[in-house]
């Protein structure tokens, strides 16, 4: 099914030998159903074993293979070669430090994720023996979309504010906090707000919306962040009001 070949330009960087990244060009066969990841695997197996990148699932669920493809952050395993012209440029995810080739540093995201307490902080503790918490399908649906995040960090790469302000907690972390805040079983919002509603939290977002456009899982972080802003604003005015009334 190879009809033609296609040029792949990959940004390479090896900290041990290069002072800065450079482009390297590979010629790969074009298959109709190939994704960019297949092309990279083809290169790794047949042309250049020194090319490095992350991947695992090949089904857009593990979140490993985020990279810039022709300037936009994408999952390589979900970007079909057929959707591109004859030259595809592949770079590491923007805004993150390049560890090597297409591999970028994850530390920042992982520590931010931990900071927003992305776990259920139950309203009331309930022993496991007493069975599940009740949650209606409507209550489930309320937060479900925001629980679909695969931590691929594509939204961070898409968000210019994160690029400009690296301290910004960023779309995915705040969205995950919001996911738990919306959960009918949860009572931990107050604790999460310490980070989420801080200056480096949701308030660095200017609603560019690029995060949601880029998100491969349709999580809609931009929406989540605006909801968080509205809720935090209501909180703030309530707090002020109640302290005046005292």
């Amino acid at each position: 099914m190879t009809d033609r070949s296609i040029e792949l330009e990959v940004l390479r960087y090896n900290p041990e030998t290069d002072s800065e990244p450079y482009w390297q060009r590979y010629s790969v066969p074009h298959h109709h159903e190939w994704v960019v990841l297949d092309a990279l695997n083809h290169i790794k197996e047949n042309i250049d074993p020194t090319l490095n990148y992350r991947w695992s699932c090949h089904m857009a669920v593990c979140g490993s293979c985020g990279m810039m493809i022709n300037g936009s952050p994408k999952l390589a395993c979900k970007s079909f070669m057929r959707d591109y012209e004859n030259l595809i440029r592949v770079e590491p995810l923007a805004h993150f430090p390049i560890e090597r080739d297409l591999v970028t540093g994850m530390d920042d995201f992982v520590s931010k994720l931990a900071r927003v307490k992305p776990y259920l902080i139950p309203k009331q503790d309930k022993p496991v023996e007493e069975g599940e918490y009740r949650q209606t399908p409507a209550e489930l649906k309320r937060y479900k979309q925001y629980s679909m995040c695969i931590n691929c960090m594509i939204c961070y790469s898409a968000c210019p504010e994160y690029g400009l302000i690296p301290k910004f907690l960023g779309p995915a972390a705040i969205t995950l906090a919001h996911r738990y805040n919306l959960d009918s079983r949860d009572g931990g919002r107050e604790q999460r707000q310490e980070e989420v509603a801080s200056g480096e939290g949701v308030w660095e977002c200017t609603f560019v919306g690029a995060c949601s456009e880029a998100c491969p899982k349709h999580v809609d972080p931009a929406g989540a962040l605006q909801q968080v802003k509205i809720a935090s604003t209501i909180d703030w005015f309530k707090e002020q009001l109640s302290s005046w009334l005292k």
């Binding site: 400009l164 509603a197 801080s198 308030w203 200017t206 604003t233 703030w236 005015f237």
Partner: protein
């Protein structure tokens, strides 16, 4: 980390953004008509004066002007940042200050009508 006081500036911004979204285009359209020489009845001196004399109208005008100045100021602040001007504190002080001056001025003018 402490929670931010951003809501105090963001709340009016969001309100202003909503108000301007609803009313600014039509207002521009009306003054555009005037600019083109077809002053609508309501925009003549008599029309406007009569309208703006009512306290409810004053309130509405005040609200529209204040909120839209505020939301413009707030957006301008982040736009400056986006254009690479990073002295956020100073810029914020200036733009919000200007919006407040505008609001106070409108209050005064309306009082005088």
């Amino acid at each position: 980390m402490a929670k931010s006081n951003k809501p105090i500036v963001w709340g009016p911004f969001a309100a202003g953004g909503t108000v301007t979204a609803f009313v600014t285009p039509v207002l521009i359209l009306l003054t555009l008509l005037a600019a083109l020489g077809h002053v609508p009845d309501g925009l003549t001196y008599e029309g406007m004066h009569g309208f703006a004399s009512h306290w409810l109208a004053k309130l509405a005008i005040f609200a529209v002007i204040t909120l839209s100045l505020w939301s413009s100021a707030h957006r301008l602040r982040s736009t400056f940042f986006d254009f690479g001007l990073r002295r956020d504190k100073q810029i914020a002080t200036i733009v919000y200050f200007m919006a407040i001056i505008g609001a106070l001025a409108s209050l005064m003018f309306l009082y005088c009508i």
